[in-house]
Assembly symmetry: C2
Homo-oligomer: 387 residues x 2
Amino acid sequence: MTEFLLANARLDDGSLVDVTVRDGRVAAVAPAGPAPSAGGLDLQGRLLCPAFVDGHIHLDKTLLGLPWQSHRPGAGVAERIAAEKRQLAETTLPVAERARTLLRQVIAHGTTRLRCHVDIDPGVGLANLHAVLAVAEELRGTIDIQIVAFPQSGILAAPGTADLLAAAIVDGASVVGGLDPAGIDGDVEGHLDAVFGIAERTGAAVDIHLHDAGLLGAFTLRRIAARSREAGLQGRCAVSHAYALGGIDPDEFLRTADALAEGGVAVMTNGPGPAPMPPVQALTARGVLVFAGSDNIRDAWSPYGNGDMLERAMLIGYRAGLLTDQGLRLAFSLATTHAGRALGAPEHGVAVGAVADLVSLDCGHVPEAVVTRPGSRWVFRGGRLLT
Amino acid sequence: MTEFLLANARLDDGSLVDVTVRDGRVAAVAPAGPAPSAGGLDLQGRLLCPAFVDGHIHLDKTLLGLPWQSHRPGAGVAERIAAEKRQLAETTLPVAERARTLLRQVIAHGTTRLRCHVDIDPGVGLANLHAVLAVAEELRGTIDIQIVAFPQSGILAAPGTADLLAAAIVDGASVVGGLDPAGIDGDVEGHLDAVFGIAERTGAAVDIHLHDAGLLGAFTLRRIAARSREAGLQGRCAVSHAYALGGIDPDEFLRTADALAEGGVAVMTNGPGPAPMPPVQALTARGVLVFAGSDNIRDAWSPYGNGDMLERAMLIGYRAGLLTDQGLRLAFSLATTHAGRALGAPEHGVAVGAVADLVSLDCGHVPEAVVTRPGSRWVFRGGRLLT
């Protein structure tokens, strides 16, 4: 049995508490004593929060660790996929090294769990998967890395990919991905047959990239929701981006949101720049679980991003117009507890019984944390301070 | 005569130079010598750039310096104006103190010039103006503060305001403001008669807040452009926000952009969150000067913002999808040279003859600066290091 005491921690409600952690979980939360107990770490009134969870990252795509890489433009998703392939083919730094460079940043910012989409197609095969699996194993004590087998070149559009996705699940990916069933594969049902077929055969969860906009995207979302329900995947199915939800009329939106809620389909957003953004508050109000992810970080798709999920919460809140304390807390939840739930992780945070993956921030409460994004952070993994 | 040497500065093109500053202006830029001259400040290869210019800030609105202020929601511009009045009426910390708190942050981030909109209406009269003028005088050696007389409650909607705006120009404001001629005053021509009448009588420049969207906003933009041309105010007239430019069809957009270019009307954007954003690249391509500003910082309108114009350049670039090196440089220019030009300031930057208001950043070039936003900065005012 290992036990830690985190003394004089401030909770989001302003109270000062001593937190006892036993075997990686919070065993007690009590009003702060007059003086910190011997052996306890004194947080001196710093805010203590659930650690960040990055619901969507591409560790195999980042170009971090290389000299500056200028973005090469490409119009449309298909052209940019081709541009990325050329750029990565020229890259001499191995996937594992680039992934490690990014993970060091991610962890320092306070993230202890993430979902990583790994490119799988007939060209790259399972090479990126094996590289990321090895890094995940190296860092197992520090961060939980969940892997999505992601068909970046499509499934029907790149014959052989469906078998590779199934093989990826056997090798260690736990989620099967998808990509624009209409926009890339040109066959909504065919694409979903492949994705949900693999999920049903292997027990994998599902997380589909959907950039397709407007009514086409909304239609696809409802088809995914129906498939999730039919496959009994409620709570284990997600759609990433779902720009369509930000570009349809209120009736179409409600119809689609209700289908997602009924199908137990969560929605990941990174607070996109120019693309329409799913309305976070309206989706939450209709019972849809919304969660946050970084998406592209310094890669062929985007020069932006740094893996800081607190900055991501700010970007999402800013982009969505979340202004009240309640709104700012929602933005924070997207990047912590909501993302944890979407990834099927056990509850974490400052509550008795929860996994003690925590971050301390130098500010008064969560709304202030989102707007000020304090830099100096302590990151706790199962109650243990990561240095 | 005062002379400074900034040695071993890196320019955006990668070259290392020694910069001689004489009487506040750049006197020479020469290849870096083998060793820094005596008396010179060695930048050790840090990037040297034009200092930031904040084209739109509200120093009298910020609530910085007070304990956390929770945002109070209000639907629509009129309701939020009323909510702000109530909140500011309860605020005991004087305008000057709040403004100073924000200015300290702004200067530390590397801004040496800004345009501040100051609320003027029959309730507050010229009190905020006088407070901000006094702070501007205090900080004259450190930062140039240009003041816009801003009719936050409208002009026709708040009788007496037109006279107050004219009086504000006499007292030291150099720009006359406006606010949603249709949306707030319900009389486009009446509002513009007042604004441009004051400009013509006093010689003031013009900067009008325009949130009105879609075809109504586009129509108003074309009316402002025509007024600017008729009044000979080309190059001295700006519209802030101009959300409409981000929400109209391409034909309407081109017609409006060309009118703005012909009228010499600049467009200020802060890279708005949920509101439509003027297309920065398309406007620039049509000859419209686009520039950047912070807008609201920790005030009744928004809990976000910190006065860092490099972060603002990132937000604008991210929001506008500026991904290439050229695009990232454009985002940076909006917050430096473009904003300087929109404010009618003399050229500043690392060029012979330019005012030596500069900032040094710990990175390799401007595109990298925008995405990484290095924290450790040296700020130079007329070549002199601000501590």
